[in-house]
């Protein structure tokens, strides 16, 4: 009975948590302008969403989001990995602590302050805000997470394997590629996916740094649209698709970590 009650509690919470997304998903299959009216099953909204030229602004926003997310994830992963190796090998304890603290700032800071402070940076440097600056902003808040993903792998690594490779005649760069990178790869992959998701989900940093040249990401587009009053009905299928995509990425990631853990425990 007790187990039944506690399981029931979990399921009720889950249903409540997912109810909003489920409603959006269900009503993406009807064409009514106002959400809540059911005018019969139809894939019309999906068709209209993907009709070329019908929703150019929305599609442009989606493409911007994906490009910025991809670039930010790639750069953050590279920068974060190199930095994690660097910070891990720092001898000076105080300097190491300073680096770790600085790395934590964007994580602990409120997004709105990250957004406002970067906005002030570009304003006072006189840089016009646009694609490049927005991508830089995203790299700023993604890289710390990559460092946090790679660092535990470095700590788990046996430091002697690297020296062994050198003793056996590997050049340092060979030792890096053949010994260190394979051992931290899973951390890098996690960092990459996490950066991508953080970037495409971001709203509070983006809204201050999209500039005035008409650049929009999906979040800022939705925000502007909802402010005009009355959401574009095509956003319903859009939100549903993004939800399904994020769900898929997270499930793949989860299964991958689970497999990793299993292979690790086998060793």
């Amino acid at each position: 009975m007790k187990t039944f009650l506690s399981k029931a509690y979990i399921w009720v919470l889950l249903v409540l948590l997912y109810a909003p997304m489920i409603i959006i998903g269900v009503f993406s299959f009807t064409e009514a302008k106002v959400l809540g009216n059911w005018t019969g099953f139809s894939v019309g909204l999906y068709r209209s969403l993907f009709t070329p030229g019908a929703h150019e602004a929305l599609m442009a926003a989606v493409i911007n989001t994906l490009i910025i997310g991809l670039v930010a994830a790639i750069v953050s992963t590279a920068l974060g990995t190199v930095s994690a190796i660097g910070i891990f090998n720092l001898r000076n304890k105080r300097f190491k602590a300073v680096m770790n603290t600085m790395n934590n700032i964007p994580i602990l800071n409120a997004d709105i302050i990250t957004g406002v402070s970067l906005f002030l940076l570009f304003v006072s440097l006189g840089v016009t805000q646009g694609y490049v600056t927005l991508t830089l902003c995203h790299i700023t808040f993604c890289t710390p997470y990559v460092v946090l993903c790679v660092m535990p792998r470095l700590k788990q690594m046996n430091p002697n394997t690297f020296e062994a490779a050198l003793d056996l005649g590997a050049t340092p760069s060979q030792a890096l590629r053949k010994v260190i990178l394979p051992q931290i790869r899973s951390g890098m992959v996690s960092g990459f996916f996490l950066s991508f998701i953080l970037s495409i989900d971001d709203f509070e940093v983006s809204v201050f740094n999209i500039g005035t040249n008409g650049l929009q990401t999906l979040s800022t587009f939705i925000y502007a649209d909802s402010r005009k009053g009355g959401l574009t009905p095509e956003l319903r299928p859009m939100i549903t698709l993004v939800f399904v995509a994020v769900l898929a990425v997270l499930i793949i990631m989860n299964l991958r970590t689970k497999n990793n853990n299993q292979t690790n425990s086998l060793k």
Binding site: S6, K7, I10, L13, L14, A19, P20, M21, I23, L35, G36, L79, S83, G86, I87, N89, L90, M99, M102, N103, I105, I107, L108, N109, A110, I112, I113, V116, S117, L118, F119, L120, L121, S124, L136, I139, T140, T143, Y145, L148, C149, E163, P172, L194, I200, F203, E204, V207, F208, L218, S219, I222, I239, V242, F243, V246, L250, I251, M253, N254
Partner: protein, 264 residues
Amino acid sequence: MGKIKQFFGRRSSWSIPYLIFMLIFVVLPLVLVVLYAFRDPQGNFTFANVRTFINEKESVNTLVYSVGIALINTIICIILGYPAAYILSRTKFRNASVMVALFLIPMFINVLMRTLATVALFGFIKVPLGQATLIFGMVYNYLPFMILPIYTVLQKLDKSYIEAAQDLGANNFKVFTKVTLPLSMPGVVSGIMMVFMPTISTFAIAELLTMNNIKLFGTVIQENINNGMWNYGALLSLIMLILIVVTNLFNDEKEEASAAGGLV
């Protein structure tokens, strides 16, 4: 040996580009927030912004109101989230990790989409938007952030403490209040960190959930920046920043608090 040393030296220098990057994109912007907060639009040093903040009741009132909402939200999240985390860490589900993942997935959905979906839900069940829906929507948004850290701590808790207490004659209630609850406090503190401050500083959520009728502190910051009142906006950001620094002093398990930790 010398060669290896030299190389290790070089590897540690790999942190230098990131140091420069962070100085430009993390430290300098925060310094600018402080500078702007004590300047007038012409760039002269002034305390005028501080005076406006104190004299003009609106910002102070919004801050107090936001703290109140954040407090209510945090308490509801603990009341709902703690049992959930406890059950998830104890009960044998057929696939426990999937159950946990299900609770975490909403964290990775765009906050605007989540909020609009919540607004749609309220519309669907015909509840008028106002303070109640604001709190409800906030709980919706932040509950996973409370469950994750508590679950992480409970998961790691050494079961032998509980067995020892039981062996020493404590009943289930006593085991919970004297052993489990105190040992899980770090998770609760992390959860509070992840719910309380973000509630104060969000802006779009409150705007959408109340048809722009109720303002939170974040909304005021955003309005000032958007309307070109950069200096006053910077001062409000600085106040927010000080609040974050102060609350962080109470939390030492920073890395575990990161939303990423549990899932990745």
